[in-house]
Amino acid sequence: MSVLPSFEHLRPADLHEALDAISFDDPVYAGGTELLLAMRSGLLRPSSLIDIKRIPELDRIGQEDDDVVIGGTVSHAAATADPVVLSAAPVLPKVLAHVGNPRVRAFGTLGGNLCFAEPKSDVATILISLSADVELASKNGRRRLPVEDFIIGPYTTARNEGEILVSILIPPTADPMVYEKFQTMERPTVGVAARLLEDGSLRVVVGAVGGAPEPFDFSSVHEVNSGHIADRVEVIPDLTGSERYKRHVTRVVLGRTLAQLEGLA
């Protein structure tokens, strides 16, 4: 008895081969934590899966110029345990340590998390607050764009057919940062990232309540009004709550986040 539809499994040896093999019907396969579920539910019926997990250059964490570079197939658990990630963005391992459950973290990849663009992704929200970029490779070359522009909406990214997310690039920061979420099910109802920048300005990113994480910028901490953000943020009612409930919880979690940030600053 098989629960998945049939497909071919291809294991390209390097990125070049992988780029030759992928197409809309032949998607990239890494951790599989979202893809296999989408296939089981009948949402996707790929003719083959292009398994990029064993391509060494995609599974590396390193430094390039000033940025920390996390390869597209690095797992949540590997990034959480990495000293380079910890020193460059101490908030990130704390967030990653609470994504999904230990099984999802052990095999689910950061690149896959972003490409799937699940609206309740903690990872997208914190990476936007870190001003992280993604690098995409295709047969025609590479391009780099902010995670904020990469995530377009629910399950929708700026990735074109034929492109593979090869790395996530994070500029190191010592800015005080806090991530708080409220969660009663497998995924958060709301996740809030707040960052106090060197010039005294503040960036708040609200995730999970709407279709994509939404950033709000303020010139100083004194200008932030949790109620105002909670009223303005895009909210989509779903199983984690009605619109009214989600706006309320957003305001509460924003309050907690900002109080914690004040303690750090």
Binding site: S2, L4, S6, E8, L36, L37, R103
Partner: protein, 160 residues
């Protein structure tokens, strides 16, 4: 569809098979190898019942392809006891009555094995956090927590 060659070790035993790409790991374990100790429930990676270890890391075998164990080693609940003697975690589950119907137990035991290898002396909060993705519908969580903490102590006493 072309079958894929898989060479692996399951509970220390060398196994070479040809499997369809779409075969999940739990289908491979239960249907191909007859290892029915691993159960399946939610098939969404949220209940933890089907947990096994791949290269000592926990996975939901319901949402993991059998082709991905090629070159890796798998440990299932059948491979936890040794020499006819229960693993200290299994014994602690019995001593603390940490199971009622027992359906979730293989998954909890495998998660506990993975946790105690990573963190040999966890705090109660660490155990709760690690086991958050495992569901017991007989609501035996308190006794499961006690069993895992006690197993950590037993393992520490047993190691020189």
């Amino acid at each position: 569809m072309n079958p894929v060659g898989v060479v692996t070790q399951v509970n220390g035993r060398e196994i070479a098979r040809s499997v369809p790409a779409r075969m999940t790991l739990v289908e491979f374990l239960r249907d191909e190898l007859g290892l029915t100790g691993t159960k399946v429930s939610c098939e969404l990676q949220v209940c933890g019942v089907c947990t096994v270890l791949v290269d000592r890391k926990p996975v939901s075998s319901c949402a993991f392809l059998a082709v991905d164990i090629d070159g890796r080693e798998v440990t299932t609940i059948e491979g936890v006891a040794s020499d006819g003697k229960l693993h200290p975690i299994q014994q602690a589950f019995i001593d603390h009555f940490a199971l009622q119907c027992g359906f979730c137990t293989p998954g909890f035991v495998m998660m506990a094995v993975a946790l105690l290898e990573e963190v040999p002396q966890p705090t109660p909060e660490q155990v709760v956090s690690y086991l958050e993705g495992n569901i017991c519908r007989c609501t035996g969580y308190r006794s499961i927590l006690e069993a895992v903490l006690d197993a950590a102590d037993r393992l520490e006493r047993a190691s020189p």
